[in-house]
Symmetry: C2
Subunit: 232 residues, 2 copies
Amino acid sequence: MSGEKMKLYWFSGSTPCWRVLIVLEEKGFHDNTELKHIDLFKQEHKSAEVIKLNPRGQVPTFVDKDININESHAICDYLETCYGDCGKKLIPSEKRAMSRVLQRMHEAHNNFQNAIIENIIYYCMLTEKEKWDHDLLERKYVIARNELQRWEDYLKKVHEEGGIYIVGDDFTMADIYLYPHVAFCVRFGLDISTYPELEKYYNTLAQRPSINKTWPPTWRSTNDEYRYLTKL
Amino acid sequence: MSGEKMKLYWFSGSTPCWRVLIVLEEKGFHDNTELKHIDLFKQEHKSAEVIKLNPRGQVPTFVDKDININESHAICDYLETCYGDCGKKLIPSEKRAMSRVLQRMHEAHNNFQNAIIENIIYYCMLTEKEKWDHDLLERKYVIARNELQRWEDYLKKVHEEGGIYIVGDDFTMADIYLYPHVAFCVRFGLDISTYPELEKYYNTLAQRPSINKTWPPTWRSTNDEYRYLTKL
């Protein structure tokens, strides 16, 4: 390990890893970070090298010189707080703007993730298909649709006012918390055209260099197998 | 509503609300904040007054003059960032210390909460007792015990080094993220004496004024009914 370079252990398709990659790119650190891809299917996250840095054996695992920090949201906060002046500022200093960014960050982290990703994708992933409780799934779909509609409404207002990002006219940490979740849903079968404002957001931000460049390489091909969100 | 006072809509027994109350107390704002208790059992969180400020109809709902911010972690971050110099500083500025606090904050928020609170308490709460899947519950207990043991080990090291807080010798936002979870587990039947380091942490910090003063009033009486964690 270089004594000076940042180092990130990551996995293609992990939204927590993707979040960190986007922050590194926005801050101008990406090309100077040693990236080590960890194949979860080969249990590489349980290797001695990773466990030493991250006893939970998870990715992202991150090193900045002699500082080691792992949880994705912690890494994002750390990079923004310690390197606020490098590259793009991702959490504004002005109180009102900050409050809006923090609000959407944590709604994306908690509500969006719980209502859709944990609630349906992880449920379907972790339960044998023969054991899926279809009545329960129907109730989960209602919750997920309501959550998607809420973000659709947020973005409708943004678009009406001429903005393109989740808080309006500025790309912020709120987009970095939200966007990988939206893309994850699309990856797992969400027909994004059902939600035209979300579709516009999804397509517009896909062109942003920090997002386009760090797009999970394994997502460049189609996923026909795990389409859990087709009913939303 | 006063134009100048902060205002918090809260519910006794909600750990997200408790987190915010502790921060307000640590910052010296608690006694100057208008506190409005919202009875979730009476659906008061769905009242027009709350919905206007928080379309999700949840607590905590928070107002600082003309700024409105709701998600508990967002409120905590907001208060610490905007009022860092008031009262107790809760996230250190020095990079290494900050990284440790952020790491434990997000482990408490994600891992502790998922492995124990979501995994067991909410499962038992939201599933009719006759439908509990006991094989699944046994697997959940293993995950929860592992998570508790991890924090037990963290605290063993802290205590050996003479500290009392989760990052050692300083009370920080990491304690504010963690402590209400630990107390919630005790409230729902965890025999904390099974984990002596956690027990010491639990009892020691219970005496801290910000925690003692804001202890959920409804938790002053015993809870004999909802003891979901007796097998941990």
